[in-house]
Subunit: 612 residues, 2 copies
Amino acid sequence: MASPVLPSSGVLSPLGLDAIQPTPGFWGDRIVLNREVTIAHCQEWMEREGWIANFRGERPRRGREFSDSEIYKLLEGMAWADHPGLPELAETVARAQESDGYLNTRWSGARYTDFEWGHELYCYGHLIQAGVARLRTHGEDELTQVVRRAADHICDRFMATTETCGHPEVEMALVELYRATGTERYLEMARRFVERRGLPALGDIEFGRGYFQDDMPVRQARVFRGHAVRALYLACGVVDVAVETGDTELLKLAEAQWERTVARRTYLTGGMGSRHSGESFGDDYELPPDRAYSETCAGIASFMLSHRLLLATGDVRYADLAERTLYNVLATGPALDGRSFFYANPLQVRVPAEPLDGINLASEGGLRSPWFTVSCCPSNIVRTFASLPAYLAATDPSGVWIHHYTPAEIRHDGLVLRVETDYPWSGEITVRVAEGGPGRISLRVPSWAQGATISHGGSRRAVSPGYAVAEAESGWRTGDVISLDLPVTSRWTVPDSRIDAVRGSVAVERGPLVYCAESVADDPPLAEVRVLRSEPAERVVDGVVELDVEAALARPEPDGWPYTPENPREGAEPVTLRLVPYHRWGNRGPATMRVWLPVASNPLSPGRTLCG
Amino acid sequence: MASPVLPSSGVLSPLGLDAIQPTPGFWGDRIVLNREVTIAHCQEWMEREGWIANFRGERPRRGREFSDSEIYKLLEGMAWADHPGLPELAETVARAQESDGYLNTRWSGARYTDFEWGHELYCYGHLIQAGVARLRTHGEDELTQVVRRAADHICDRFMATTETCGHPEVEMALVELYRATGTERYLEMARRFVERRGLPALGDIEFGRGYFQDDMPVRQARVFRGHAVRALYLACGVVDVAVETGDTELLKLAEAQWERTVARRTYLTGGMGSRHSGESFGDDYELPPDRAYSETCAGIASFMLSHRLLLATGDVRYADLAERTLYNVLATGPALDGRSFFYANPLQVRVPAEPLDGINLASEGGLRSPWFTVSCCPSNIVRTFASLPAYLAATDPSGVWIHHYTPAEIRHDGLVLRVETDYPWSGEITVRVAEGGPGRISLRVPSWAQGATISHGGSRRAVSPGYAVAEAESGWRTGDVISLDLPVTSRWTVPDSRIDAVRGSVAVERGPLVYCAESVADDPPLAEVRVLRSEPAERVVDGVVELDVEAALARPEPDGWPYTPENPREGAEPVTLRLVPYHRWGNRGPATMRVWLPVASNPLSPGRTLCG
């Protein structure tokens, strides 16, 4: 089955790309853009920067020590997208493999001399995931042979050692290759990599061993910590190992770590990673909006983890976080033209930044760029969007579960369903039975959707957040229609009072979307805006729902020592603040932006204030 | 004169270490501890780590590429402190100098191949400052000869090029060597280094050229930016060049940059540098308390800059910031025993950290350590505390100006003054004339000291912030007494509403001291505390004034998704919160800490709330 994750057990079973076909709509359009534009965009940049030439043996080698992995993620995306460029690129990669299976353009000749920073096993991880994608969409070919040789080399080299890689990734890749091939030592190798981390297995570094989760064994950790992408890739591997080895204790630990991380170290957008320094999680409740790192890759990793936990448990909260991350981090990463990308995804930008035409040397936020010195995010978007249909729905013995709503055709067990919706703009979801068949149809009701209703067979009923189950006693007949009505209306959201950085501020959400004030050329000045919390007014602009909220423009304070016995009184000039979906910001030229909006406490305000 | 800064013009002229002799008291005690304990502590660590052995030619060379500079800062401190260990250490350094004056243990053999990161000129800067200190306290010797040869080498090598160093420092050092020797080309070299930066003179780097202030010429900049220590050392050099070349336009520009930086990029403590990443200033109003970098060295650099601007202009606001930085950053850096140090000085610490016995690989805050991989802060404290008396007072043609109050004897023009006070604990300052003489005595009245009074010659009058001038018509007679009474009482301080990170919070100051809640073992939990803004109660513990403030302990919210339609109501358990001077925190074992205290908005509170 053409799915990136195929556990052999769990509450839910995936449906593959062969069973879920998005049609034009929010995600269908992005998937097409990804295949038609972004794949070629990435390949062009990898050629231009010499990262592909590294495999042809051109010297001096170019790119960072982990640049091989970008080619592998591109290959994975090509495999899922059935892209015609794959064989040629795979052949280029194959030529660089050594006779014993070793493959790395940076470390050939100095193998495994730097586990902390070398990224060799990390690169294998991405190579293996590309191979799994190829196996599941095409079958054996040159790429899959390269991958098998590499995986065998890893097992030969590392099964009996205490070593591991500074960047987790190979763990989940090996489990998936085990799932795809049945070769049990791949699973055992993954299990050992998971268990030996934190004994410790690596040397100390400036960021501390927590950076690569080597500060304690994974079974002792209570929360995700350190480098966010590393932590979340490791967690994916942990869940995969737990599921395949039947280690329910390990699975429970991963769930508890996820739970605490979501309660204390996650942004409203679903983004993870509070610190630029070390690209890492912060302490509990350390969630600055302006310096949010919230790397696009960390969002992808979190999405992959949520999906795994959802499959294992069927618990809707994993689907809820997956959706939040999907619409507010993954959709935010690429520009609308699919040719430039955010690396960091902050929730506030005070200084308008011009988009960059060339390579972004840094990974600062507020700036979409065509390419980066460390260009992990574009190719990660490529592989994720190419396989995205496989994340939208699943099955269990009772029938089909639909997690995420976008126009699509879903096939399972003879049943053919057509999902029609303009979600997330509205909450009306129609599931039309195109070919009749048996089974329940379980439709996710997101946690924010209080007051949702479902109708089919002539009856309509209220449904609570969770999964709403639709059943037809004698099976579904062609032409049957299920209508789910989710209350997609704007709502004010208040942060936990322990999140110091956004005290006294509120945000607006609407359905699964987080909104933000985007102020082109900072007019109105977002530092002076105070919102009144009246009902936002909706307006539709080119199919996108924007929101107008009432606000007051505070009188700017004079420059001077900024800490005084009393603040000057706020001004009271009324202003209408336009909010746009967060994922669309940064497409209209240099602008300031903020998700969290300070609440007015002046005479204009009819509402309550929010201190504390 | 034994002073680190001796401008040839300006409103004020320094008084040297020969003229200002601190006696036991807040600063006198620290200066003794620095000389008796911290100098030896640093020298021991430099030996242990092999940084001194590098000068003996021992290989492999150890330490970072700039470790030579630590030995030079130690030498500068030894020179100011007239430490007997200087000659031997200076001889070790001298042996590593090459015949043409080049001296660097890292780059010998690969001279000037990495201006961005090599730090060669930076190291010379510290070497030269050590030489200036030796010249002014002792006269010519082996160290000063080394320094002259090095300075001549720099001029020969760089006068006609467009190159400069990735880390400013040599600029102010060369100006001071010009002042100490009269050799004009040192000044010209410094002027050229200042003017060529930003043309640009360096290559681009991941952090961007702003990191080392090479993004624009210094005359175009409106605010300090990039790496804070680099920015502030450069600004010192800019002021020095402006003063010595009579470039009033350049001086005005530096003042404007300082003004904007103080209004928008400075912490309540006077600390500068908002970002761990790049150790840099943030955008305007980006001042997170928890991730404040506020490096000890940046505080020292800011103190050096304020001093230079004060001498040039006589403007009290520079003395006000200098005092704030002195009491809340410089005094905070070292532990009470002088043997461990903060690198970063955050204003909030959520997770108690154990002090480190050994080397801190990182520069995280909340943790005093005996030594660091990059150990700039301890040796910077050494040289600054050793020369601190020279910063306390100055003169102009009218007489003596006293900027900072600590028990001391001050001599000028036959006049001998004894300052008696237990400032900052109280605001009573007595200046006793020990030997009569002529001239005015100008005493600084800090900006917070509304209601201050001065008494002498039997009369008492109110004085406003600024400098209060005491005059004796026919000169001061032995036994005359001037009493300055500053209202050192606690006060609540509110942040500018544009500083998002501390919205809805207040701080307590008392005299020049910023206070903080320090909660050993986080009991009470500082995340739950809400203050009521009633009058703090004072208590004196071992001579230190601590404050008790009324607060309410909020009911912890349940763990779960932390963004909801409404927050749970706050609880209302009354609690007394003990505040300690910020500079004393971290000496009582693992603790949480916060300067900015959220304001209660619950029924307990009689005061107003502070949103916005």
